[in-house]
Assembly symmetry: C2
Homo-oligomer: 339 residues x 2
């Protein structure tokens, strides 16, 4: 129910994701039954894997997540999270309020044992591949231990889902020397050194789009700012390019001849296409698709999520987090007591 | 002495800056006399305003700034800072080690009365104009009061040098609502509300390249990461574009016809051209030009700095900082005791 373009787009995207994809055995469409039925193709969904689950409420974009979840017990996000908690679904994909989804993941789906905080991971494209940035906005104030756990989860996601062989993990800081950083990153650096990761140390803003690092770890404040700044700059550069290319006839002709080059970059960089972010650390795959997602983005979100389930990303995270916690405990590093 | 391309480039850039610019009455070239003389045009500088000041040492890029300053008392950066402290020069432009320049500004030039911390401001171009981001890397851990002072200094710089009429000042955060942010930004928000600024509240990464804000305030950790991420993404997008445009003949022809569009954007976005950053809060204008600067960038750094001196930016900062401190004291906000 959460997308900007109504549930028709979501249903169409879901239909395409099911086509030729045998990994998905059941697909629940959770939301207002009347709206869903009105948006179904004529004659309903032919695919027998689809089930409609009614939910009478919706968490709106401007609602405070935790309050909304408590109040709206029959909201689509709560109902969908319950399907995961009850083991009826392995994964949950939403286009709605990110805070609402994160709260539902935390309080309804629940965290993997040993994970102190879940996080939002974002996959950001660059010239020849992509990198994972986490946390991208869920945890504003973090402890070093949280960054170390994000590193482990990002590493698993990069290796299992993005198929990077030995993901290079770095802490986002202001210089590559070991001594550069703030209190949080300096201590997180020390913790990451103890873990079984391909930890390359600090990375700078300069390194992100240069294929130097596959997993970029930071707190949610920094991550959210970096992510949104990149989106803003990319959009700004495209619009600058467009204005320049349209400013005279010669350039217009050139732009027409070269148009596929621009399309190809736009496809690669457009959040609409690569769009979306896995929420990591929960007892079920949780995936946030862009609110502005259209059919293709919904399809891609569902496919990526189904892949992550098949690759048993959460089982592997559980195992590697347990190992990481043990390594830190063995190094006499005090871990937070479980909440 | 600090540029990547030797002092010939600096001297050539300086010569161009002097041409037709009567604001500069004396230009000191501070560095190794033999090197400078070797790089001078045949017959020496014709312009009678040029003086060579010998310094036998150089602070290298990889040296620890504070240690290097103490050790190398006859370094070019120390000698140049002394010219400012002694009132022989109004301003100091350097292409060298940023940390070294900041330390020289702090310990040799000295801070404006009432300014608790100097900062690095960076002017970042966008489609139709530019914005100031500060602090861009000098102060890793900040107190809310520091962010409030950065807001005041950025506001003065934007108004006086970039000629923005009533600069919109925002705090970089993770949502535009007043309640969004971390401990630091939430308290800085409260302080900025008390000041005589066009304070628009929180801004997000999304706002930076959209002409929503003219002065973006953050701590040096976040600012440095944002700045370098933007540079990295811009370079990455250009190289992606180049690869796509060169991938077949039709695109190559298109790119050739439209080439001026790309040049125009590159000129606008290239740090080499807009490049450089004023250091604010010191008893003299201090300007960091990119180490990779070529003649044109040196010329532009010298012109901007001469403008800032003429507009009496530091006198205005001194006045507005005094007013801001008084306003905060009147609001019963505890200020740090002067160092």
């Amino acid at each position: 129910m959460g997308g900007d373009h109504g549930c028709g787009v979501v249903i169409e995207g879901a239909a395409r994701a099911l086509e030729g994809n045998s990994k998905i055995t059941t697909l629940y469409l959770v939301g207002n039954q009347a709206d869903i039925h009105a948006a179904l193709p004529k004659g309903g969904f032919r695919d027998h894997r689809v089930r409609v689950v009614h939910a009478s409420e919706v968490v709106e974009m401007d609602e405070k997540p935790v309050v909304a979840l408590r109040k709206k017990k029959d909201s689509s996000i709560v109902r969908a999270a319950e399907l995961v908690r009850e083991g009826k679904a392995d994964a949950l994909v939403s286009l709605g309020n990110t805070g609402g989804l994160f709260a539902a993941a935390t309080f309804k789906v629940g965290r993997i044992a040993g994970v102190d905080r879940g996080c939002i991971a974002t996959v950001i494209p660059r010239q020849s591949n992509e990198f994972v940035l986490l946390d991208a906005g869920a945890n504003i104030e973090c402890k070093p231990f949280h960054l170390a756990q994000f590193a482990v989860m990002g590493h698993v996601y990069s290796r299992e889902v993005l198929q990077r062989k030995s993901p290079r993990v770095g802490i986002l800081s202001i210089g590559t020397e070991d001594s550069k950083g703030n209190e949080l990153t300096l201590e997180a650096f020390r913790l990451c050194k103890k873990l079984d990761l391909n930890f390359i140390g600090n990375v700078e803003g300069h390194d992100l789009f240069k294929d130097h690092v596959d997993v970029v770890v930071c707190d949610g404040f920094v991550g959210n700012i970096v992510l949104k700044t990149c989106e803003s700059l990319a959009v700004g550069m495209f619009s600058m390019l467009k204005r320049e290319l349209m400013s005279n006839t010669k350039r217009k002709i050139g732009a027409y001849l070269a148009r596929n080059a621009f399309h190809s970059i736009r496809r690669r960089m457009d959040p609409e296409v690569y769009g979306g972010a896995p929420l990591l650390g929960f007892n079920g795959m949780v995936f946030k698709a862009h609110g502005s997602a259209r059919e293709r983005a919904v399809t891609s979100a569902l496919r990526v999520t189904a892949d992550a389930v098949q690759y048993q990303v959460n089982e592997i995270i559980a195992r590697e987090i347990a190992n990481a916690n043990a390594a830190l405990a063995a190094a006499d590093i005090a871990l937070p007591t479980p909440a």
